[in-house]
């Protein structure tokens, strides 16, 4: 009989995340996968500025904090020094697709053997809800109070589709954590992204459609539904490169 319990590498500490925020779910998935693959002792995580900057408070592994947007460069530095360690980044959409887009694209183009976990919550969570590069058209944020208008603010950036045009990456996928079924799929895909690095010495990125009920001004339940329904229209779930 299997008992549902906390993965050992997830510290016994209450998440600082808001109620209904799915950062916690993704942390748990990452913890489960690392434990299952028995790589805890040779994994180094990189968490840049964003709501998950304190990920090291929860994940009981070696970690480096990175400045806003630079996690792929920091991870590159680590991986080049320690090629036999497993190195992953855990980045928000503002981090990965706005301020850090250059590092994102070039790290992927180099095919740097890293696992990039990309939390797309269509908003800047940590700074109280400004427009992100992934904010949906029409979506209201602190800095698009009338809704994102393509004529003024341009279009959401589809990171997976874009990176899939590069030759460097081995695996590019988008998943959601908006329902139980989606979470099970996310777990499978995330595991594959770690496997690519470990077994094939290859670059993998997984975009996770994630909630920010606080800054979306939604109830947790509605936020989950919003990813499954609204977000997936702009950001379809799937494998873009394999």
């Amino acid at each position: 009989m299997r008992v549902f319990e906390r993965p050992k590498m997830l510290k016994d500490k209450v998440f600082h995340y808001c109620p209904g925020c799915t950062h916690g779910i993704v942390h748990r998935l990452v913890a489960e996968i690392i434990e299952e693959m028995e790589i805890r002792e040779r994994t180094v995580g990189v968490c840049p500025v964003g709501c998950a900057v304190l990920a090291y408070d929860y994940l009981d592994i070696d970690m480096q904090e990175a400045s806003h947007g630079r996690a792929p460069a920091v991870a590159t530095g680590i991986k080049r020094v320690l090629p036999d360690r497993v190195v992953f980044t855990y980045q928000g959409d503002g981090d990965l697709a706005a301020i850090g887009m250059t590092e994102t694209v070039h790290t992927a183009a180099r095919g740097e053997p890293l696992t990039v976990i990309f939390i797309n919550n269509a908003i800047y969570g940590m700074t109280n809800g400004q427009m992100a590069p992934t904010t949906l058209l029409g979506q209201r944020t602190q800095t698009t109070p009338y809704g994102r208008n393509a004529a003024k603010e341009g279009y959401p950036i589809k990171v997976c589709e874009m990176l899939a045009t590069l030759d460097g990456p081995s695996y590019i996928a988008r998943v959601s954590v908006g329902s139980y079924k989606s979470i099970l799929n996310a777990r499978k895909v995330l595991r594959e992204a770690f496997r690519r690095q470990i077994e094939e010495n290859a670059y993998a990125l997984v975009e996770v459609l994630s909630t920010c009920p606080t800054n979306w001004s939604m109830k947790p339940r509605d936020a989950m539904d919003w990813i499954e329904n609204e977000m997936q229209e702009t950001f379809p779930v799937g494998i873009f490169k394999e």
């Binding site: 304190l54 592994i61 480096q64 947007g69 530095g77 020094v81």
Partner: protein, 355 residues
Amino acid sequence: MKKKQVLMKGNEAMAEGAIMAGCRYFFGYPITPQNEVPAHMAVSMPRAGGVFIQAESELAAINMVYGAAGAGARVMTSSSSPGISLKQEGISYLVGAELPCVIANIMRGGPGLGGIQPSQSDYYQAVKGGGHGDYRLIVLAPNSVQEMADLTMLAFDLADIYRNPVMILGDGNLGQMMEPVSFCKFRKRKLPPKDWATTGTAGRSRNIVKSLYLIPEQLEAHNRKLYRKFQTMKRCEVRFEEDIPEGCELLLTAFGTTARICRDVVDKLRQRGHKAGLFRPITLFPFPEERIKEVSSWVKAVMTVEMNMGQMVDDVRLAVEGRCPVHFYGRTGGVVPSVEEIVHEAGKILRGIKK
């Protein structure tokens, strides 16, 4: 036995010195006048079993340095003025997270895109901060191709000892000129193990590399700890070179390229019967303020010469504290002052003293 000498550019000597000091990771982005550094690293790093990456920007380069330093490696980046400006956020993070590394700035004229000729106008940026927060770098100022190599080797040890970035502050002239240089075998000091590095938790509890402290009292305590390191640097790492005659009438103070020029100036002035002296800070931080203070009580006047509009002269004045007049002469924008023009300026000051 005579040591073998080779003819090299300053930039190449610096790169070679780094490799000899055990640096195996170099991350950089092209910019004149330091391109010989990455060029040399691209050839020599793979041969030494190391890694060279041409990063996509200076931001990426300095953050690759951060990752590699956090993983426990000896690592270096180099750039020139505009690129160093771009690295400032990363440098602040490196100090905050207490990561050792070596950063070279082969200065060119500014502000903005400026020019590509040599300058010393990033003195403030290097010595006073540059990035955000209350921090210092150890700043070493070579004045020859030989010192480009020697001080780079020293820089790696100092970085490890203090767990702090060390900057080599050169300029386009030092980087580009060729001189004979000899490499002594690098003797690595006994340094504490890097047991703080993020290498995986095998056999120990986990390590975190970070600079975030959300509780003000904790951040203050962290700042105090850093401050204590900077104070130790001030006590233990001051380096300078001086040639000050008894009864010195005019003491020239200069670093790097201008110190070389001032050497000739001093010789010329002495030939003309003046008691001229030279003081050359080798560490710009920590600044040799104590020594300048001492000599300023008996030299008649000080003249600081720089390739900028007057930056180091502020630190000289702070050290002199009005004990004697401090004059300044500078050329900037890539103009290198000639021996003759400095002698001329010095002559004016000396005539004033003798009146």
